[in-house]
């Protein structure tokens, strides 16, 4: 056997043997006693999870039923929506003049008064309006 070129600290092997001999005691302390778990105890969490899910679904359905109101007459609602979609929102007369909708043919005659109002609203000078209309 060839000699190794190493040494160890003084008394190391006595210390090593003493330290290693303590392993069984240390390991037995660390080992936790096995607790026997019944089958019911194992499946209880799964039952609890399923029950929670079912309660959440039922409660959610109940709250939605109570808070969401259904329209009583679908036809009226659709008609309102239809009218709203057709509203020519670029026309100020359509927005403010109810008679706009009352006419069956939706025709609108422009009067002289309408022209004067328009010219006044667009800041055309009054003398110019007078000259234009009454020449």
């Amino acid at each position: 056997m060839n000699k190794r070129p190493y040494t160890t600290p003084d008394g190391y092997f006595d210390y090593l043997q003493m330290r290693l001999s303590q392993i069984p005691e240390q390991q037995q302390v660390q080992e936790t006693p096995q607790v026997r778990v019944s089958r019911w105890a194992k499946i209880t969490p799964y039952f609890a999870l399923v029950a929670c899910f079912a309660i959440a679904v039922v409660a959610g359905r109940f709250i939605l039923d109570k808070t969401l109101t259904q329209p009583e007459d679908d036809y009226v609602t659709l008609e309102q929506l239809y009218s709203a979609d057709l509203l020519p929102y670029t026309s100020q007369y359509a927005l403010f003049d109810e008679s706009y909708y009352e006419d069956d043919d939706y025709s609108y005659e422009i009067t002289e008064e309408d022209i004067i109002n328009y010219l006044i609203n667009t800041n055309v000078p009054l003398n110019y309006i007078g000259q234009t209309l009454y020449e």
Binding site: M1, N2, R4, P5, Y6, T7, T8, P9, F13, L16, Q17, R19, L20, S21, I23, P24, Q27
Partner: protein, 172 residues
């Protein structure tokens, strides 16, 4: 095997093998501190596995197999750690220079340096054969290998060490 028998057998293993096992581990890892820590882990492993020891193998080879596998795992982890942390494992020359428990001359220093350059398994085979003078049949059981491949492995390791020492004008 009851608890008392297991404890008695464990204490017998500590008494009979701890010193030889220390040297085997020390050959593999190089430093005293690493060998000291690793030996504790190895004996904890032996204690855990002892109830499953069926006596099919010799107790000696069974213990050495656990120790060798644990040491190879340690060296593998050390290598992975060094790669991941981008830290180079200090080379054998530096370790020997820093080791207060190295008492060899220049030739032994170069031998250890050459030994540490070998792959871990070759180092294990060389150490078991060269320092422990173990039979190839026993090494084969420990390393779970064939006698033929172990002889080849030892020969390769021997040639590498010889070449390394020859570069420094030392005959091996």
């Amino acid at each position: 095997m009851n608890q008392q028998e297991t404890t008695d057998l464990f204490n017998q293993i500590v008494k009979d093998y701890s010193e030889r096992l220390y040297w085997h581990v020390r050959d593999m890892v190089g430093s005293h501190d690493d060998a000291n820590d690793l030996l504790q882990e190895i004996y904890i492993k032996i204690w855990s596995a002892l109830p499953s020891f069926r006596g099919d193998a010799q107790l000696f080879t069974w213990v050495w197999r656990i120790a060798t596998n644990e040491t190879l795992n340690f060296l593998r982890k050390q290598k992975v750690r060094s790669v991941l942390s981008f830290e180079k494992i200090s080379n054998a020359q530096d370790r020997i220079a820093d080791d207060p428990y190295f008492n060899g001359g220049e030739a032994e220093k170069l031998l250890v340096k050459a030994l540490n350059k070998l792959p871990a398994k070759q180092r294990a085979v060389f150490s078991l054969r060269y320092y422990d003078d173990m039979k190839y049949e026993d090494i084969a059981q420990i390393m779970n290998s064939s006698v033929g491949s172990l002889k080849a492995s030892y020969h390769i390791a021997y040639q590498k060490i010889k070449a390394e020492l020859k570069n420094n004008s030392i005959d091996f």
